[in-house]
């Protein structure tokens, strides 16, 4: 309450209505996009460190010939879990976390459209991660690669629970990814600030939107594939068993139907983050902004026509490989549009070399190199030579580390003020970047030659005298250098959040989009007054109202707001209301009420985990209890009364 009056001020009232309930239960029941987004980001960062540590162990084993740090079984488990963690537990959840936290702020919204579904997505992600990692506790770690090729993963060649952990855990993670995608698409379609027509949506949000649409089309076939494989393993069905009319190739088609778009699902939001950093750091609008958005859409469409280029060595008919080669070449065109647009923006801007900008440059250099080797492996004759060698390992790491990890690390520097209100140290950040950039290239550049010299993937050791010794040692030294860089990055992140860490104002980098108009970290209610967007960079123009309520000409309050804005600014009903706008022009259309605290998403995710655990251990009563719990949680979730 205000000291001078018995009525709470608008801000106090907003804070009360949009705030979390007190205590641990209140913390658990938070569904607000900021709580969920932060949880996604920091949990997936933990998984990044875990996956990175596994990579270091593998490189230690491969540092010298005939090394005995670990046996082949442990090596198999490490490369499987490294790939699985990076693909399913780090990159996609991290990017969804960024989107869930930042996109509502960039769009001028007060929350995600379905907050409880949002919370369920996080709990399902966490449950999937715990489920997968619990395989270490029981000594049944998945060991057949992150792609789980049949028949190696069938009941005959992979007895035990190892692959069941993988199949069930990945299914849960896919469900988490799908619900987050549904949220993000709906958010972008209807939760934009008045005036933010589709031509004014920030590039980062566009990229996340496109990737989310891709998830809706790419993830379900993998769920279908994993369900069929788990049935082969548990019940003895024969979908992938050639002896009974099945076909192992069915798995590869279903997997890569998901797997190749997945590469771009990991790339596009990261490109969006890089674009947000780039525009801020150069202080100018994105060159060819519309072309960049069109390129994002083109990449999304083309990416669904490329999956067979992972299968050239499987005996696919030559005419089919020719078609997929052509499609693989085509995707270089929209990718080049984005890269040239980035370079032109830097060319015409005045670059401020924040650490985040260094990571963007690192992204361009490394990703272009990965793209060029991508064109090489898209050619069938070369692919047949390089298939399953370290050349492919090098290529995919150049694409994914350059295309996803570097923008994410830059994004953590860039968005940390908004996430937590703290700024990471720039000097430490530069050292970490230098170690990461040099370490990465030292680790993976030699692997191209290793592959060409015949070193195959997934081997746990090699004999002396094959000519691989020096390159492997260099690669291991590089990986340790990068490990040091990541350690420094983590220390920097921790130091920033200790009591003496640097605090941030609303817009420490001079960013142009709406997330920088509000406090750092964003308050419970995000914005407290009228937003009216008139350009893609509302904080740089002189006409947009940015919801900051600062009282100045450009970002201030509307002196005579409409009735609905007054209702949103002073929610005396105690309801979490927000404005919904039309899809194309973002004209204010109606107000809706959003739910707040709820534990049902947590119970639903826990029930799902219990059900899958029952399936894992062949204890069908537990599976039924979990299914019953899931149905009961959903029933309670849907029970009337939210409004």
């Amino acid at each position: 309450m205000s000291a001078s009056t018995s009525r709470p001020t608008d801000v106090e009232l907003l804070d009360h209505v949009w705030g979390a309930r007190p205590g641990f239960v209140g913390w658990l029941g938070q569904c607000n996009h900021k709580a969920v987004g932060r949880r996604f980001v920091f949990t997936s960062f933990f998984f990044l460190l875990l996956g990175g540590a596994m990579a270091l162990l593998m490189r230690t084993q491969l540092a010298v010939p005939d090394n005995t740090v670990m046996g082949p079984d442990t090596f198999n488990q490490l490369f499987t879990m490294h790939g699985t963690i990076m693909m399913f537990l780090f990159v996609v959840p991290m990017l969804e976390g960024f989107t869930i936290y930042v996109a509502p702020l960039s769009l001028g919204a007060r929350d995600m459209p379905m907050p409880r579904l949002n919370a369920f997505g996080y709990w399902a992600f966490l449950a999937g991660g715990v489920f997968l990692l619990s395989s270490f506790v029981v000594g049944a770690v998945p060991d057949s690669g992150w792609f789980a090729y049949v028949p190696l993963t069938g009941p005959e060649f992979a007895p035990g629970l190892n692959l069941d952990f993988w199949l069930l855990g990945v299914t849960m993670l896919e469900v988490a990814g799908i619900v987050a995608a549904i949220e993000i698409v709906t958010l972008v379609a209807r939760f934009r600030a008045p005036g933010m027509s589709i031509s004014r949506i920030p590039v980062f949000v566009w990229a996340s939107f496109v990737a989310s649409v891709m998830i809706l089309f790419a993830f379900p076939p993998l769920v279908a594939g994993t369900v069929l494989l788990e049935l082969d393993r548990k019940l003895g069905t024969t979908f992938y068993n050639a002896a009974f009319g099945g076909d192992p190739m069915l798995w590869q088609h279903l997997f890569w139907w998901f797997g190749h778009p997945e590469v771009y699902i990991q790339l596009l939001p990261a490109v969006g983050i890089a674009a947000a950093i780039l525009v801020t750091a150069t202080g100018r609008r994105m060159v060819g902004r519309v072309a960049v958005v069109a390129a994002l859409v083109a990449i999304a469409i083309l990416s669904f026509g490329l999956w067979v280029h992972h299968m050239y060595a499987t005996g696919i008919p030559l005419i089919a490989t020719s078609l997929f080669t052509a499609a693989s070449f085509m995707i270089a065109i929209p990718t080049a549009v984005i890269i040239f647009s980035f370079i032109a923006t830097m060319w015409w801007g005045r670059i401020r070399w924040y650490v985040s900008m260094l990571y963007v440059v690192g992204f361009i250099v490394i990703f272009v190199a990965g793209g060029i080797t991508g064109v090489m492996v898209a050619m069938v004759p070369f692919n047949w030579q390089a298939h399953d060698t370290y050349f492919i390992v090098a290529h995919l790491h150049y694409v994914l580390v350059g295309g996803s990890l570097f923008p994410i690390l830059g994004g953590l520097h860039h968005f940390m003020p908004k996430l937590t209100g703290r700024i990471m140290n720039e000097s430490l950040g530069r050292w970490a970047f230098a170690l990461n950039f040099i370490g990465f290239n030292a680790a993976f550049l030699p692997q191209h030659w290793l592959g060409l010299f015949g070193m195959t993937r997934r081997i746990w050791t090699y004999e002396e005298g094959l000519g691989w010794e020096r390159l492997n040692l260099l690669s291991t030294a590089g990986s340790y250098t990068m490990g040091l860089g990541m350690l420094l990055f983590t220390i920097n992140m921790i130091l920033a959040h200790l009591p003496g860490g640097q605090r941030s104002g609303p817009n420490p980098w001079g960013g142009p989009t709406l997330e920088w108009a509000t406090d750092s970290p964003a308050p419970n209610y995000n914005f407290r007054s009228t937003i009216q967007v008139t350009s893609p960079e509302p904080l740089w123009d002189h006409e947009s109202r940015t919801g900051a309520g600062t009282g100045d000409d450009t970002g201030g309050e509307d002196p005579d707001p409409p009735w609905w804005q007054r209702q949103l600014d002073r929610p005396e009903t105690g309801l979490r209301q927000t404005v919904v706008t039309t899809t194309l022009d973002a004209e204010p259309d109606h107000l809706i009420t959003l739910p707040g605290h709820s534990l049902w998403p947590l119970w639903a995710a826990l029930s799902l985990m219990i059900a899958l655990t029952g399936v894992l251990v062949d204890f069908w009563a537990i599976a039924l209890i979990g299914t019953g719990g899931l149905i009961a949680s959903c029933a309670a979730w849907l029970w009337p009364g939210v409004e």
Binding site: P113, M114, L117, I178, A181, I182, V185, T186, A189, R190, L216, F217, A218, F219, P220, P221, L222, V223, A224, G225, L228, L231, D232, L235, G236, T237, T238, F239, N241, A242, A243, F244, G245, G246, D247, M249, L250, H253, L254, W257, P562, W564, Q577, V579, V580, T582, T583, P588, D589, H590, L591, I592, I631, C634, A635, L638, W639, P640, V642, E643
Partner: protein
């Protein structure tokens, strides 16, 4: 589906425009379901295409299904689809009734719809149980058991969805103006019936077509 049918919507203009939040969520969920069924349907299509064209030695037999595995009768599958369609029609009828303000009739139609949809689920389960083969004899028999079962699961979720809306009707939160959940449930139930039909066609009609 329309935003102005939602209880939580307060129009800013004369009436709310476009699809409601729940409608967006539903349509996107339908995309996910369709892609899931596409992935499942790829199994019989791909496996049948990959079968040897002529009998060969060893355990693998040509054909889809191979000689010795009799195709199950289609009667119960047709009955299940008819029951499902009738159930979905009754849920749609409930939507029409609520628009006209007949809340009691809405409840009755929904209850009947739930019963018919549940009957459809039971029919599919009986159909699977009566199959003249086990799920582990051949990829076709696996396909038959699993795709039919997943069809039953789809219809089972439709039953739950319609029952949840029935609770809303019985608790009095649905009226002639605000009945978005019933509109969404109608679309969802019809989608489930359609997807189940596709899955049943894949296991009943597709083998007969490729057999000439």
């Amino acid at each position: 589906m329309r935003a102005d049918r939602s209880r939580t919507v307060i129009p800013i203009r004369e009436r709310a425009h476009g699809v409601a939040m729940g409608g967006w969520g539903l349509w996107l969920t339908i995309i996910v379901m369709v892609m899931f069924v596409a992935g499942l349907s790829a199994a019989p299509l791909y496996l049948e295409t990959a079968q040897p064209r002529a009998p060969i030695t060893g355990e693998v037999s040509a054909g889809w299904p191979p000689p010795g595995i009799a195709l199950p009768a289609m009667g119960r599958a047709v009955l299940a689809i008819v029951l499902g369609a009738l159930g979905a029609g009754l849920v749609g009828g409930a939507l029409r009734a609520v628009r006209e303000g007949a809340v009691r009739l809405t409840g009755i139609l929904l209850l009947a719809g739930v019963a018919l949809l549940a009957g459809s689920v039971v029919t599919i389960v009986l159909d699977i149980a009566a199959a003249p083969f086990s799920y582990d004899e051949h990829a076709y028999t696996s396909t038959y058991w699993i795709l039919s079962s997943i069809g039953a699961v789809f219809l089972g979720t439709a039953v739950l969805m319609a029952a949840a809306v029935l609770v809303h009707v019985l608790t009095g939160v649905v009226d002639a103006e605000r009945h978005l959940e019933l509109g969404n449930a109608t679309v969802y139930v019809w989608t489930c019936v359609a997807l189940t039909t596709v899955l049943l066609i894949m296991v009943h009609v597709h083998p007969r077509l490729v057999a000439g």
